[in-house]
Every structure is written in structure tokens, then in C-alpha cells.
């Protein structure tokens, strides 16, 4: 049974957005980290890069699999989680605590296209 947190926005490709004012913290869900196994590398964009809803911004790798990171929202990267560079396994410890990028959201209305916790729970069938 994967952990799902109320109040976050979820995408079909298993990313979440935690909204904080005009910013959003983007990461992968607990379900996604579980499917992937031990994360050994996170390929992250650089600060000031633009991300677009529905487009890739990086990838998460385990030993025998890799998963593209698809941005649920559009905006400008204002921070990347540098702790993941040295310890990518943090995502396995707590995927919601260990977000990947922090984005200045350019279009708040995009959030309406995402799922809430209940809908995401239905989608992953738990």
C-alpha cells in the first residue's frame, strides 16, 4: 500500500506538485519510487531552466530501469534538490519529503488538469 498525501496535485505519470504560494515542489510519488526500486541517480535540470507541463525535465534511474520525469506544470526552476545528487536513495526513504525541483509556476490554472489524492488513489488501484 503506497502512501498518498492529501492536498497535493498528482499526474498520470506519477509526479506530484506541492503548491506553496506561487511555487510548486515537484517530485515522484511513493507509488512510483516503489515501482522503480532503489534509485541510483536523478537527472535534474538547472536553476533558471524552463519546464513545460507535459514535457520531460529529467529522469530517475534505478539499476535496471529508468523513468522520465514529466513536468505536471509549467514554470521556471528556482531550486533543485541538491541532496539528491549525493544521496538519490532519499527518494526511496520518503518520496514526498524529498522533492526534486522547485518551480515558479507560470500558470496556476494548469493545476486544474491534475488529479487530487482520491483520484490518484483510484488510478493506481489502491
Amino acid at each position: 500500500m503506497s502512501k498518498i498525501i492529501e492536498g497535493l496535485y498528482y499526474s498520470e505519470s506519477h509526479e506530484y506538485v506541492r503548491v506553496d504560494g506561487e511555487c510548486g515542489y515537484i517530485g515522484i510519488t511513493d507509488f512510483a519510487q516503489h515501482e522503480l526500486g532503489n534509485v541510483v541517480y536523478v537527472d535534474m535540470p538547472e536553476v533558471d531552466d524552463e519546464v513545460t507541463a507535459g514535457e520531460e525535465f529529467g529522469a530517475v534511474e534505478s539499476v535496471k530501469a529508468a523513468s522520465d520525469l514529466v513536468s505536471p506544470v509549467s514554470g521556471t526552476v528556482i531550486e533543485v534538490n541538491e541532496a539528491l545528487e549525493d544521496e538519490p536513495g532519499l527518494i526511496n526513504k520518503d518520496a514526498f519529503e524529498n522533492w526534486i525541483i522547485k518551480v515558479q509556476l507560470s500558470d496556476m490554472s494548469e493545476l486544474e488538469n491534475l488529479m487530487d489524492a482520491a483520484a490518484y488513489k483510484d488510478m493506481i488501484g489502491e
Binding site: N38, V40, Y41, V63, K64, P88
Partner: protein, 493 residues
């Protein structure tokens, strides 16, 4: 049994002042390298081992004992066609009249080499039903890339610039989409039906004037013959695309079908699979590319061309302006070409035709003999290989990985595992035509035994292998903090 001293890294056997070489005395030692400007020379010599000759020989001989090859035992690695690598091939490849040739030496002095090259080109054309081959590509993946370059060059020559997409089945080897991407093509995935063959209904709507072509293996990665191939080829041709045949699974077709006759326009062949050249722990291989009539001009430069003359024939090395360009320094892996042609000469037309049927017989025999213990998702005849979806009884949690590792304990190489991705616990088995019934029977017996162990002693299977030179490896650690040189290893310790 391995000696632990020689089992170290070669760097750890080094002692300053030892040497393992001898060179001629310098008769011209009044010309000294020290005359070169110091700022263009390296500041510090490379830290290479200093070892005597016998130590080098023992070190690498001991190391080889930790390896498993086709000569060691049965190697049913699906999709890799681990057939016997005849010894005569090696002798011929080492023929001094051929190994001593510089690739740029005068063409009149390499006529023998060019004849081998030309003969293999024409033999492959006959075996595949295509017009002409190049032997320049270095490997299967390189052949794919070259073949796709031919495809793009063909469309470009007609001013048809819209064709930027290539169709690849979801069951294809990962190399297909990767080669397409390197070649600047976008990949469109076509779905498989439950039997692993291409879903023609899913294909139809994908076909339009942006399609450069379609890549397929036949038989596909599940060992199933794509019986709709004629219809698929027609659909793709009708929309203006070309058909690409990934020769990874050509072996069962020898003596039975030719890709050219199935409607394919471009293909590559893995000489290290179908034509018995050794895999060499990963290479060198060779990936010749063949094309249908009308596409020859696009093949890569340089080309070996035969000219008939009154007093015999003469070979030249030529470059064609319409060619896609150069994809290799010279004429490919010539020593591999020597081996493959030796193999064709050894088999002759009488025996080549039996390769496919016997490989297919072996695969079906193993499949039928094990289907009560292992999950067989696709019934019916397979070709050179087939796929089990793990153990039939999965209740003890023994996975395909565990079965594979346990096989190593019994002196067999493991099948290909977790590919194709259509099944969760894929176990892909390809016995080649060279394996005897007795070898297959012993493999079958061991596989049944492992199925039984999985029920009765699951923990033992899950921790296998137990009898190999080393135990299961921690590959998470290796990927998390990669240590890829001796220097890093020392620094870390």
C-alpha cells in the same frame, strides 16, 4: 581452481623495474625524442603495470578460468544465437597473408582480401534475397544505424523530406528505437497482439506520408513468425515507406525464407550470430547491411567493386557520390569477414539449408519438454527461440532471476531474462542447431530440478548461485557510487 595471487588486478602484481617486452636495439639513437619541445610532452608517465611475461600469461589465463563461453557449455541465451565458433575460422582469420595488410596499401596488392570481401557480399545477398551488401558496419546496432541512413538517403534523393518517422513494434529490441534516434528519426510504436505479432489494425492508422519506414524482426522477439508479413510490407510500401529487417533473428530462416522474398528492402545481418563468428565477450562483431535493387547507390563508402576483364577479374575500392557517406574508417571488421566466409565455405549450400530447421527443432523440443513446469504464454510452434513467463508455480516467490542464477550452479549459462518486456518474468531460450539431444536433455533435466527446488527449497534458489567463482553482486552499490578505474579503487580503499 584459481590461484589467488594471479587473481588480483594486474596493477597489484606490478613491481618497479620489471618488464614484459623486448624491442630491437635503436640503431639510430642519435635521433632523440628529447629534442621535442618539453611543453608538448606528457609531464608524468602513465601509471601502467610493470610485470614480467610469465606473470602476464598466468594472470590472464587465471582470469579466463572465471569466464563461461560456448566452448565451456550450453549457452541458451535468447536472441543472441550462441552457436559454435569453429576453430578453422580462427586459423583462417589469423592467416598472415591477410593480417599483415594495411587498409590503405596499394589496391593491386590486396586483391586476395578484396575477393574474400566481395564473395561474402554476394553470398549474403544470395542468402537474404537482396541485391547488394556492404560489410562496413562493425556490429548489429551499427548496421541498423547504417540501414536507417540508407532509408533516409533514399527519401532525400526523391526530395521527400517529410518522412521523419519510423515505426517500431513494442516488442522490438531497444536498439531499434535507439538507432532511429541517433539517425534523427522519430519513433512511432506499433502494438503487438497477444501472440506477439504486429497488430495490423493498430498499424494502419499510423501509415501516412511522414513514415520513412518500419523496422521488424521476423521471427519476432518471441520466436513467432510474423505470418502477416506480406500484408504489412504491402501497407508500408503503399504509403511510400521502406521495410527494414533486423537480422538479429535470421538464424531460423536459413534454408526456409529470405527477407528479400518477404518484402524487406533493407536489412542487417549479425555475422557473430548467424555466421558463427565469436562474440568475444561483447565484440568485435560485424553487421553487414544489404539492400534491394535500386538502393545500392546509397550504401556507405568505400565499396568493393569487381570488374570483369579479358584475362580474369580485378577488384577496386570505390566511392560513390550518392552514398550516404562513411560510417567506418576502412572496410569494417575484416578479420570477422574472414571467419564468416570460412563458415559459409565449410557449410556449403548442402548444409546451410539445414541450419534453420535444426535450430527450430531444438527450440521446439526444449519448449515442449518444459512447458509443464514453466509458464508458456504462447503455444504452437516457435522458431529458433521461445519465451517462458517464469515458473508455472510462483507461490514460493522464486523469480526468473533466481532460476537464471541457479542454472549457473549446474554449469549452464542462463537464458536471456526479463526481455521481451511483454511478460513480467520473461525467460527467453535459444538453443542453436549445434546442440545435441543429450545436451538439451541434460538442460531439461536441470530446469525441471530447479522447478522442484523452487517449491521445496525456495531460499536456496533465491540465494543462488552457490558454486560460481563469485556470488551475487551488489549492483546498486556499483551504480550509486561508480568506481571504474584502479586509481579510483585505490583512492576509495
Amino acid at each position: 581452481m584459481n590461484n589467488t595471487y594471479y587473481g588480483k588486478l594486474i596493477f597489484e602484481l606490478s613491481k618497479e623495474g620489471r618488464c614484459g617486452y623486448s624491442l630491437p636495439k635503436n640503431e639510430l639513437d642519435n635521433y632523440k625524442m628529447s629534442a621535442l619541445p618539453a611543453n608538448l610532452m606528457r609531464y608524468e608517465a602513465p601509471c601502467l603495470p610493470e610485470v614480467d611475461e610469465l606473470t602476464v600469461v598466468r594472470h590472464y589465463t587465471n582470469m579466463s578460468n572465471n569466464n563461461f563461453g560456448v566452448d565451456t557449455g550450453f549457452y541458451p541465451l535468447g536472441s543472441c544465437t550462441m552457436k559454435y565458433n569453429p576453430k578453422i575460422n580462427e586459423d583462417m582469420a589469423a592467416h598472415r597473408d591477410f593480417t599483415c595488410l594495411h587498409p590503405l596499401q596499394d589496391v593491386d596488392t590486396v586483391q586476395g582480401a578484396l575477393e574474400v570481401y566481395y564473395n561474402l557480399q554476394t553470398s549474403l545477398a544470395e542468402l537474404s534475397g537482396l541485391k547488394e551488401f556492404t560489410l562496413n558496419p562493425f556490429a548489429g546496432a551499427h548496421g541498423e544505424l547504417t540501414g536507417l541512413m540508407v532509408m533516409r538517403s533514399y527519401h532525400a534523393s526523391r526530395g521527400d523530406d517529410k518522412r521523419t518517422k519510423v515505426i517500431v513494434p513494442d516488442s522490438a529490441h531497444g536498439t531499434n528505437p535507439a538507432s532511429a534516434a541517433v539517425c534523427g528519426l522519430d519513433v512511432v510504436v506499433v502494438k503487438s497482439r497477444p501472440d506477439g505479432t504486429v497488430d495490423v489494425d493498430d498499424l494502419r492508422p499510423l501509415l501516412d506520408d511522414t513514415i520513412a519506414g518500419m523496422m521488424m524482426t521476423n521471427p519476432n522477439t518471441l520466436g513467432i513468425f510474423e505470418h502477416n508479413i506480406a500484408e504489412i510490407a504491402k501497407l508500408v510500401h503503399d504509403c511510400g515507406g521502406l521495410m527494414y529487417y533486423d537480422g538479429a533473428n535470421l538464424n531460423p530462416m536459413l534454408g526456409v525464407c529470405r527477407p528479400g522474398d518477404l518484402g524487406f528492402d533493407i536489412m542487417h545481418i549479425n555475422l557473430h550470430k548467424t555466421f558463427s563468428t565469436p562474440h568475444g565477450g561483447g565484440g568485435p562483431g560485424s553487421g553487414p547491411v544489404g539492400v534491394r535493387e535500386g538502393l545500392e547507390q546509397f550504401l556507405p563508402n568505400p565499396r568493393v567493386v569487381r570488374h570483369e576483364e579479358e584475362d580474369g577479374h580485378h577488384y577496386t575500392i570505390e566511392n560513390n557520390d550518392n552514398s550516404l557517406g562513411f560510417i567506418s574508417g576502412f572496410l569494417g571488421n575484416f578479420a570477422v569477414v574472414m571467419r564468416a566466409y570460412t563458415y559459409i565455405l565449410t557449410l556449403g549450400h548442402e548444409n546451410v539449408k539445414n541450419v534453420g530447421p535444426l535450430a527450430t527443432l531444438n527450440a521446439n523440443y526444449v519448449k515442449e519438454s518444459l512447458k509443464d513446469c514453466f509458464e508458456l504464454p504462447l503455444t504452437g510452434v516457435c522458431k529458433h527461440e521461445f519465451v517462458f513467463d517464469g515458473l508455472k508455480d510462483k507461490s514460493t516467490g522464486v523469480t526468473t532471476l533466481d532460476v537464471a542464477k541457479r542454472l549457473l550452479d549446474y554449469g549452464f549459462h542462463a537464458p536471456t531474462i526479463y526481455f521481451p518486456l511483454l511478460f513480467h518474468e520473461a525467460l527467453m531460450i535459444e538453443p542453436t542447431e549445434n546442440e545435441s539431444k543429450e545436451t538439451l536433455d541434460s538442460f531439461i533435466e536441470v530446469m525441471r530440478k530447479i522447478a522442484k527446488e523452487a517449491k521445496e527449497q525456495p531460499e536456496m534458489v533465491k540465494t543462488a548461485p552457490h558454486c560460481t567463482p563469485v556470488r551475487r553482486l551488489d549492483d546498486t552499490q556499483a551504480a550509486l557510487k561508480p568506481i571504474v578505474t584502479y586509481r579510483e579503487l585505490v583512492n576509495q580503499e
